[in-house]
């Protein structure tokens, strides 16, 4: 199981939970399972083609997955995964 940090703008899908534990061997599986547990959250992160939306940044253990293997980036037990949005305002 990995821990996913949910940003405030997406917590309406997780009933306010800031962190959720999700199983999956890589980011793709993790996001699929996240959407199964919290329906609707997946399409906020992935576009229609199933790729990470351009403005969304996903980090596995503090590394941006764009610089790793993208959705195929391996996730180990206990890894911390963060979904980080752009910065809003001023």
């Amino acid at each position: 199981m990995a821990t996913i940090n949910i940003p405030p703008a997406l917590r309406k899908f997780t009933q306010g939970e800031e962190e959720v534990s999700v199983a999956g061997a890589n980011v793709r599986e993790l996001l699929k399972n996240l959407d199964t547990s919290y329906p609707g959250i997946g399409e906020r992160i992935l576009d229609e083609a199933g790729t990470i939306r351009r403005f969304v940044n996903v980090f596995v253990a503090d590394e941006d997955i764009r610089f790793l293997d993208n959705l195929d980036t391996a996730v180990r037990d206990g890894d911390e995964v963060s979904i980080v949005p752009a910065i809003a305002g001023g």
């Binding site: 910065i87 809003a88 001023g90």
Partner: protein, 336 residues
């Protein structure tokens, strides 16, 4: 009439016209300080994108040509100058505020030019170049949790200001009257003059709301028929950096809905696509908030054109696109 070089006769007529306009533009007078470069920005016609709204003119205020590179130079200059006049700054206190970036660069530039020490609170995920640029002016940075976004930075700045009242003067750009006044006294009047009083619509996004509130307030005074339209990201979860989705945010105290005629809700993708298009079609490489602004302005212009009416729609290009380049993995540890 300026004399053109003797070889000008061999140039195509359009080029001759362009060269004459360039030659006739007066050189700026020598300046005593970088701060004299703030404001008086060019108004640029978006001639290619405008083809999508026949009969309606589409113009953009080139705020990226401010010396700090963004529209925020205006607010920062007014905020600091008016604080100095009141005596809130200038006695050794550090200016403290929260910012996602551009205001931070603007404060840093103005602070350096006037000898005011600056402390900024920014979310940890602000881009590395942003952090380097502000630090290069001598600014002190404090980071808030990336997950909490700009509201997290606001909360931390408030806490620091309360804990250390002798060390900091908290300017709070979201509540600072000088913020909207910079646009009331500057941006609005410039647009009014630059369009020869012909502006019919003003459209721009909400960050602190200073630009849209100050400009709209003044434009409505100059001509109540001008439609002033705000743009917000359509959802709390968005990628239009610098803009606020007000329904899910700490509402800026200077935000005054009564000066707005309408709000457009902008999807991130539409804004991002437009910023690419502005680069390719107009030769203006701008950030995503500018893309959102032009996309919203185009929506308005198309509606005017569809009614068979003419119009002069004005929006704002907040900053340049290269401000958002992050270092690649192998460049992460470059040395300035």
């Amino acid at each position: 009439m300026t004399t053109l070089p003797s070889h000008a006769g061999s140039l195509p007529p359009a080029r001759v016209q362009l060269e004459r306009a360039r030659a006739e533009r007066s050189l700026r007078k020598p300046m005593q300080s970088v701060l004299e470069l703030v404001g008086q920005t060019p108004l640029i016609r978006l001639g290619q994108i405008e083809r999508l709204c026949p009969g309606v003119e589409l113009w953009a205020k080139a705020e990226f040509s401010n010396p700090g590179g963004s529209v925020k130079d205006r607010a920062a200059t007014y905020i600091i100058r008016e604080a100095l006049v009141r005596g809130d700054l200038g006695s050794g206190k550090r200016l403290l505020d929260s910012t996602s970036g551009n205001t931070g660069i603007a404060y840093s530039m103005v602070g350096a030019a006037l000898g005011i020490p600056i402390t900024l609170v920014m979310p940890e995920n602000a881009s590395l170049p942003r952090k380097h640029v502000t630090r290069s002016y001598g600014t002190e940075l404090v980071f808030s949790d990336a997950m909490d976004g700009s509201d997290g930075a606001i909360v931390l700045a408030r806490k620091l200001a309360t804990e250390h009242p002798d060390r900091y003067y908290y300017t709070n750009q979201y509540a600072n009257e000088s913020n909207w006044r910079a646009h009331y006294l500057g941006t609005a009047v410039e647009i009014w003059e630059q369009t020869q009083h012909r502006i019919t619509h003003f459209v721009t996004g909400i960050g602190t709301s200073g630009t849209v509130v100050g400009t709209s307030r003044r434009l409505h005074e100059l001509n109540p028929a001008i439609r002033c339209i705000a743009m917000q990201p359509e959802d709390a979860w968005h990628g239009l950096e610098g803009l606020k989705h007000i329904p899910s945010s700490i509402v800026p105290p200077i935000y005054d809905e009564s000066v707005l005629d309408e709000t457009i809700w902008m999807p991130t993708e539409e804004g991002w696509d437009m910023s690419e298009r502005i680069g390719k079609d107009e030769g203006l490489f701008v950030g995503h908030s500018s893309g959102g602004n032009v996309a919203a302005a185009l929506r308005v212009a198309k509606q005017v054109a569809a009614r068979g009416e003419s119009g002069v729609v004005v929006t704002v290009l907040c900053d340049r696109g290269d401000r958002y380049f992050g270092p690649l993995k192998w460049e992460k540890h470059y040395v300035w």
